[in-house]
Symmetry: C2
Subunit: 568 residues, 2 copies
């Protein structure tokens, strides 16, 4: 369906005008089509391409250095007029002759053929190539009757490279005919295309069905079937083409998996893995594959696969640089391949060097996480019940799973002589990765921030602990975006951190300071828990949509008290 | 609707695997995302980007030289996990720090923020940028709350160029924040997107309606309206953005017109012309615009417009080369602008030098075309009636229109002292261009082939005339594809040419020879005309589908006789 248009009658011309403005670096508009806007040397064979519109990037999108010299554009799905082809060819001509190339359709054959006759009358040497890649349009032995579909692209790319390389018209024609003879395409459609301004598609494929061998303009296909999984679709496409391989195919091939307009790139990527595997199964080496929209039919849903069996010269031209809106080959920046990556470690076994005091503190931290995990496992149901008052009730499960993973990771790190900072970091990362949900990420973030504030080289002082806790709550508020009063764990965490810092600064022992901070957290959490059932759903929803967890204050206060019980 | 898939659960991962295989020149797969496959020098700031899948080319498509160093990919529309972001960032890190850049969504903010905390714990300098370009998602004054949409692309492009240029992390971050502050996007949707494997879209826009300001995942928009013409849509998009221009915007801007997945390139091209005009109306100079699919939402129908107001440094980075699957900037071949084209001639006024005898023959040819045009005008209804027996009845009209145009052009050429060959060529071209339909093209082709066989330097001999007619029928048969017996004008043309050549070779005068040839044509045409009503529709349809016209033999025979009457 076309939603953006001005006048349906002018759709093709309007689109071409916009295209020329966008790609002025490459093309300039002329009556009936486009011409390169870059300088072309005298004595270069001109490649003039074209056909009906509605197939972008075909054909105007393939004009530029290393590809077409000009494109003639008819109305949607209609051949361009003879005189426009001749007129544009005269402008593109650089004294070395013209190759006219287009898909094999009656109207195009006639108009390009007639244009060639006119140009010859002007003394211009012209060759005419109707591209015939679609094996769905005529049987073996009648190759010359076949339509041109996405095989246009390798044929034009290779012919364009031959012309750019300075070959004469005889040679360019020979190369172009050879690549056409060695190119085969086959396509399927899941849905029809709709002309600009029309309410109904040109044709319909029943829901869940797939038309096989259907043409770019809805020409009748050869079969219809249920849509198979990607792996089977790949086999269907590849095997039909391989069965039609030209004589002396060789083993190397250019491959194009083309979307018809209404099929997403991601779908083509999914299909590609299976196509590539099947091609390799047949012993075909894939050379610089193209996957994307290269010859479309407005919004038709479907795809086609094209194979061009290469020889040495064709491969050289396939890989030669070109620059167009629809196809670019070659580097814009010099590059070299990167060295291989080291294998991912299965499990971490080395940790930063730690002082004896810090290692001892690390063992203590690991023990605290074991207590925490046991407590939170026991509290799982209670926390779930509180969470279910206002949310989806999974808070207890997440806290239990996260704290258990943290405890295991902390024990592992401590057993490898890690210091307190490293043990806490290991616990943090494991909690975030295993707990799931927002609260897991928040706990991981807070613990990691605290770990980053510590140093494996020395035993943490009381001041260092208080400072680490302060940095943790600041990270949670900054990154999580919640403030005290938002009914999240920050409601308890913030007074905890503030009290802890004040108590330590006032000379209290860390055990005393922690205990008073845990009391402050508990009081705040109780206020929150009392309030939760009385909050409106809308306000809760708003808080949750920011990624906050309403039972978080309660579980934080529990955790703070349990941790405090381990501090001697 | 997704038609190509293997397992819906694995859609994002499957697509990423295919993408990596296709673009192995640029990227290599790592757990949870992709890394450049090209060498990156030590000391370069690493740009690590990412977010949910389903937005291709965002984000994996923007990894490559001059752009991202790595991309982390979550599941469809879901943030990637913290540890994957951290792990991939460690692999991308080249000792100069990491900029994490992503669209501003709660899950991404949390996971990238937490990953940054972990990386800092590893001693890596990390900066975090949540991109906030979508003016539809929060009002002025609350810019930091806005979502990131297609504005991701200019921000990532410019930050990537800054990193590639060797700037330090502080400078890269400064540039990235500045381009984000100077980038605004606004979008509309005509239809919702459908998750792989789902039968229903995530949301629906009523037929003929347009959601304004809707988010990339279907987040509620700010308004809904009837779909306007492209010109009005352009004003809506441009004016809203211009109204939100940053402080000190300057006059030069990078512009991106983005398709959301289900909107065709041609539609974007149509819209672009109006967008560009409106931007220029506001005094904005467009710098290297991008029009296409850059940040999609599966198959969502709609588009967005992004403006990045440039300063000198930002423009330099916007234009710097980059190489990725989703965006390439820079030449792959050296080019220079082409010289301007000469203006098209309004009408041709000069012709090749012709001998007096050929000029005289040219005047005779022009007179013959006047007689032909008069005769075919008189016969228009009769030819239409014969054609309607088997076809659409427009043959008479086409022949009348074509022959009148040919006569006018021939008179004009003759009045400019053109020789016989040039007069015939002018008639041929005018006939083809004005008659329309297949018969017009065929007549033009035949006449042009005959003209090409003559020479303006000498008066045509009888042998030259017979030879020109033979070449004409051969061109018609070769290019048109019809043979005698196919019920086309070839049925009459072929015996005409054969008889003419034989008579001339046998010593008959051209007048006698032509008269006998015309008789042969008439007899063949009568046979054909008698046969037409008795042919089955299927056989006629087959002939017509090849581009043949059934009344052509009759009109050819009439024309041959009329032309003969002028030969003295």
């Amino acid at each position: 369906m076309t939603h953006i248009l001005q006048d349906p009658e002018d759709f093709a011309a309007d689109a071409l005008r916009g295209y020329c403005d966008i790609h002025a670096r490459l093309v300039r508009p002329v009556r009936g089509g486009v011409l390169r806007s870059t300088e072309t040397p005298d004595g270069k064979v001109a490649l003039v391409i074209g056909g009906g519109s509605g197939h972008y990037p075909a054909f105007a999108g393939y004009v530029g250095p290393g590809l077409g010299d000009a494109a003639v554009a008819g109305d949607v799905f209609a051949s361009p007029a003879t005189e426009l082809i001749a007129e544009i060819s005269r402008k593109a001509h650089r004294g070395a002759g013209v190759l006219l190339a287009f898909g094999n359709y009656a109207g195009d054959v006639l108009n390009f053929g007639f244009a060639a006759t006119r140009l010859r009358g002007d003394g211009i040497d012209v060759r005419v190539l109707a591209i015939t890649d679609d094996i769905g349009s005529a049987p073996k032995g009648e190759e010359a009757r076949r339509r041109g579909v996405a095989g246009d692209i390798p044929v034009l790319k290779i012919a364009g490279a031959a012309a750019e390389a300075g070959l004469g018209l005889d040679e360019v024609e020979t190369v172009a005919r050879r690549v056409n003879d060695r190119t085969r395409s086959f396509g399927v459609a899941f849905g029809g295309c709709t002309l600009a301004g029309a309410k109904e598609p040109l044709f319909v494929v029943p829901e869940g069905r797939m038309a096989i061998g259907l043409g770019l303009h809805g020409e009748a296909g050869i079969d219809e079937t249920d849509i198979p999984p990607a792996s089977e679709l790949a086999v269907l496409l590849v095997d039909r083409l391989v069965d039609e391989a030209p004589a002396a195919p060789g083993t190397r091939a250019a491959v194009l998996l083309n979307g018809l307009g209404g099929t997403k790139q991601e779908e083509l990527f999914v299909l590609w893995t299976h196509v590539a595997a099947r091609l390799r199964h047949h012993g075909i080496e894939i050379v610089a594959p193209l996957v994307g929209e290269y010859a479309t039919s407005l919004d038709m849903e479907g795809c086609s696969l094209t194979i061009t069996w290469l020889d040495e010269e064709l491969e050289q031209f396939w890989l030669a640089p070109c620059d167009s809106a629809g196809l670019r080959v070659g580097n814009t920046l010099p590059t070299r391949p990167a060295p291989p990556l080291p294998a991912d470690d299965a499990a971490r076994t080395t940790w930063p060097e730690a002082s004896p005091a810090s290692r001892s503190a690390g063992t203590f931290v690991a023990g605290t996480f074991m207590r925490l995990a046991d407590m939170l496992q026991a509290a799982e149901d209670e926390l779930g019940r509180i969470d279910a008052l206002t949310g989806d009730g999974d808070h207890g499960m997440g806290m239990a799973r996260g704290s258990r993973a943290a405890a295991t990771a902390a024990q592992d790190a401590a057993s490898h002589q890690a210091g307190a900072a490293s043990v806490l970091a290991a616990a943090a990362d494991a909690w975030a990765d295993r707990a799931g949900g927002t609260s897991g990420a928040i706990w991981g973030l807070g613990l990691r921030s605290a770990a980053n504030a510590l140093d494996d080289g020395v035993a943490p002082t009381d001041e260092a602990i208080a400072s680490a806790v302060t940095q943790a709550v600041e990270a949670v508020m900054t990154i999580g975006g919640a403030r005290p009063g938002d009914k999240t764990l920050v409601d308890a965490f913030e007074p905890f951190a503030r009290t802890l810092a004040a108590q330590v600064a006032g000379g209290a022992s860390i055990a005393q300071a922690w205990s008073r901070a845990a009391d402050a957290a508990k009081q705040a959490a109780d206020d929150t828990a009392d309030l939760l059932p009385r909050l409106g759903r809308a306000r809760l929803h708003a808080a949750r949509s920011k990624g906050h967890c309403d039972a978080g204050a309660v579980s934080f206060a529990m955790a703070a008290r349990t941790a405090g019980e381990t501090i001697e």
